[in-house]
């Protein structure tokens, strides 16, 4: 390797200086209001009177230099050479020029980036690495995400939901995808099988032991070598140990299932932020299209669309109609696993005589 002449500059995030649209820069912090002229388009108006249109389009997140270059071309053509991404992997172009909006939308469509995701729509799904890159996934997040967004596409491109719907998919129980209105997350159904062959070489045993939330992992000796064992009665199949040590093989083509969670909310609008709750599990890991999962999502969104009031987020709708009705209206089955038995279980119980019959 050639001798290194460059001295690293540790600046942290890239400077914003040349990355902001001039209208953003001019009116920085001086915006007055916004409107949504159509799905996928925002119009922001500054106190100065300046106007900025934003066109939001879908991407696959797992993009390539070819795709990005094409988006850069559109930025040059319609958005004065700037573009940005949203937190949900949508790309946004800004222009003060209303006349650019429709041609930009057309050009985006032509290269495979439909616009949408604004207002009360289903925006792009937040997803994680999956089989493409992570070392512990049980599913391919990108594939599940693609399958879901294909199935829900109409509601990305239209603003017909009661309020915004945010989805996520995570490829193991760790849930890098985070809380969402609806989340699809792996759920294991049996303890890890320990690979004693490799354990001694790859495992930092004390940290693996410490990682287990229920203290189910114990040091032991296997074939005369120090190793680990799992107390199966205690184990809750969470897979946290697998993140710490690759010998704790939790993944299994049949026993690793998918679960669906609903009602995560991050905004402080109206109700406080809430964690999402389990409403379906045991869904098969069925690549390449995971139809059982998309079916559950469609049921949930169908019921929400039909019953939710304007501005009511998914979890708020459920709180209003009650969880009994939620299960009835989606046709999902409540089961005993859904009763919390973890650390804060008590606060999730119905500690009242208030019941909907």
């Amino acid at each position: 390797m050639a001798e290194r002449t460059w001295k690293t500059i540790e600046n942290g995030p890239h400077s914003l200086d040349d990355f902001l649209h001039p209208i953003s820069k001019k009116n920085y912090g001086q915006w007055r209001y916004h409107e949504r002229p159509r799905p996928g388009v925002l119009k922001h108006v500054a106190w100065s009177g300046d106007v900025l249109f934003t066109v939001r389009a879908a991407t696959h997140r797992q993009v390539t230099v070819d795709i990005v270059r094409r988006l850069c071309d559109l930025a040059d053509k319609y958005a004065d050479g700037y573009l940005r991404w949203t937190i949900r992997n949508n790309v946004e172009f800004m222009t003060p020029n209303e006349a650019n909006v429709e041609p930009l939308i057309r050009d985006l469509a032509a290269i495979g980036h439909p616009v949408g995701g604004t207002g009360p729509s289903v925006s792009a799904i937040a997803h994680t690495q999956g089989w493409l890159h992570c070392d512990i996934p049980a599913i391919d997040a990108s594939g599940v995400a693609k399958s879901i967004m294909d199935a829900l596409f109409h509601d990305f491109a239209h603003e017909e939901m009661p309020n915004r719907v945010r989805l996520s998919t995570s490829c193991c129980e760790i849930n890098c995808g985070g809380q969402a209105d609806i989340a699809v997350v792996v759920q294991h159904t049996r303890p890890p099988r320990i690979n004693h062959e490799i354990l001694a070489n790859v495992c930092e045993m004390p940290s693996t032991v410490a990682r287990c939330p229920v203290a189910a992992i114990r040091p032991t000796t296997v074939n005369g070598k120090p190793s680990l064992m799992v107390v199966e009665e205690k184990c809750i199949y969470c897979g946290a140990c697998f993140g710490a040590c690759p010998a704790m093989e939790i993944n299994h083509p049949e026993h690793s299932k998918l679960a669906v969670w609903v009602g995560g909310k991050n905004s402080n609008a109206r109700s406080k932020p809430t964690n999402m709750k389990l409403v379906a599990h045991g869904l098969p890991n069925n690549p390449p299209r995971w139809p059982e999962v998309t079916d559950v999502l469609k049921r949930i969104l169908g019921a929400y669309k039909a019953g939710g009031r304007d501005w009511e987020r998914l979890g708020e709708w459920i709180e209003r109609i009650g969880w009994r009705r939620f299960f009835e209206e989606t046709g999902l089955a409540f089961d005993k696993s859904m009763i919390d038995n973890y650390r804060h279980a008590r606060v999730s119980l119905n500690q009242s005589a208030q019941i909907r019959f």
Binding site: I236, V260, W323, S337, I355
Partner: protein, 411 residues
């Protein structure tokens, strides 16, 4: 000094300057009451207790210690108290309390209650607490030597002892059907039958810890059962509430629309009530039986006709785990016939059995369930999981996923 004067002197109260402050004021004064009784009965025990109490007020410390006193064949029901400073207050040496189970709803006839007073004055101090927080008639201040005779005379008149220690405790029930229009089941009868059934467990400590029953006729829960009963038995109904439309109209005419909007409609926790002209439309599918609208308009609105109970399990104080409110174990169960009560008792038996076998020492059933998890408990007592048991499904993935589960509702 005449004989009479001498006697009087012998029984004169000692000075209790601190306690005397509590004689004034509009609220009934327990000190006045005690003084009256001791002055009349000349029971030195009470004088000693007042002296020691006054000393407590001066030193800001209590001076009782426990011991073991009981009646023949029973392991519970008497709370024994010996003075730690009997050298200072020899008259207060012994001051035991007998816990007597009153009739359900704390009902008495004057006749029977007078009998209790007479027996009690004969064997004890004449002080009593009506009632203890759990619901006992507490006869406070008997010596060990009189305990058995006191009990025997009371027992001959139908009075039995209450629980203490690791037993089923005395139950409590609201006045319910005896007077209240909201009663959805017979709190008093159920109380009577269930606690009679558990008399053995009330009298002989055989459980991990105490177990309390409270019976409220409706979700107003006038016995505070959810908070403080291991088994809270609360009346409710399953069908639509009953609406007397003429009375609704009268109410609106009398109170005005504003009052109805502000105090009824907007207070419903699930917005299940809509105003339609001079009528209220109740969305019964959304009503959570909170009782509020029925409370405001008792003449117009009444519980439905398909009545029964909700059973909540696990209520208790905060020791070790923080205050525990009971939570729903059986959303609805009929409670009308003998068979219904039998079925109820059968279920409670299973719960008590499971807890007896699995509870740690000094662990209430709610704590046991929390420790083992609701699932395991449900399986053990043969109950199906039900969405009404929870405020919401779990928000963490830390469970043993059940492979037999099918995500879709069975058709």
């Amino acid at each position: 000094m005449s004989e009479q004067q001498e006697k009087k002197q012998a029984f004169e109260l000692h000075p209790t300057p601190m306690l005397d402050h509590l004689e004034s004021g509009p609220w009934p004064s327990f000190i006045k009451g005690f003084k009256e009784t001791v002055t009349r009965t000349e029971k030195t025990m009470v004088r000693g207790v007042l002296d020691q109490l006054n000393y407590s007020y001066e030193t800001k410390m209590g001076y009782w210690k426990g011991g073991v006193v009981g009646v023949h064949g029973y392991g519970a029901g008497v709370i024994s108290r010996y003075s730690m400073i009997s050298d200072q207050f020899p008259e207060a040496t012994e001051f035991h309390t007998m816990r007597v189970q009153p009739a359900p709803g704390l009902h008495y006839s004057a006749k029977a209650l007078r009998e209790v007073c007479d027996i009690w004055e004969k064997y004890g101090s004449g002080l009593m607490s009506m009632h203890g927080q759990t619901g006992n008639l507490q006869l406070q201040g008997v010596k060990a030597e009189n305990v058995q005779a006191l009990f025997d005379e009371l027992n001959q008149r139908g009075w039995d002892l209450g629980g203490a220690g690791a037993t089923v405790r005395t139950g409590a029930s609201c006045v319910g059907p005896a007077r209240c229009e909201q009663a959805c089941y017979d709190t008093l009868g159920t109380h009577g039958k269930v606690l009679s059934y558990y008399a053995d467990l009330t009298h002989r400590p055989q459980l991990p810890y105490k177990a309390k029953f409270k019976f409220s006729g409706c979700p107003n829960d006038c016995t505070n059962s959810i908070q403080r009963a291991d088994y809270a038995v609360i009346g409710t109904w399953k069908d639509d509430m009953q609406v007397d439309t003429a009375e609704v109209e009268n109410f609106i005419d009398k109170k005005g629309i504003d009052y109805v909007v502000n105090n009824v409609i907007s207070r419903c926790p699930t917005q299940a009530i809509t105003l339609k002209g001079k009528q209220l439309e109740i969305d019964n599918r959304n009503c959570v039986r909170c009782m509020h609208c029925l409370n405001v308009m008792p003449k117009a609105l009444s519980p439905g006709k398909e009545r029964g109970i909700t059973l909540l399990v696990g209520g208790k104080g905060h020791l070790k785990v923080g205050n525990m409110l009971g939570s729903v174990m059986v959303p609805f169960m009929k409670m009308e016939t003998e068979e219904d009560i039998d079925a109820f008792i059968e279920l409670i038996d299973k719960m008590i059995d499971y807890w007896s076998e699995n509870g740690l020492d000094h662990e209430r059933i709610g704590e046991t369930i929390e420790r083992v998890g609701v699932q395991e408990f449900l399986d053990a007592v043969g109950l199906e999981a039900n969405i009404d048991m929870v405020a919401h499904p779990r928000d963490n993935p830390f469970f043993k996923a059940d492979l037999t589960h099918s995500p879709e509702e069975a058709a």
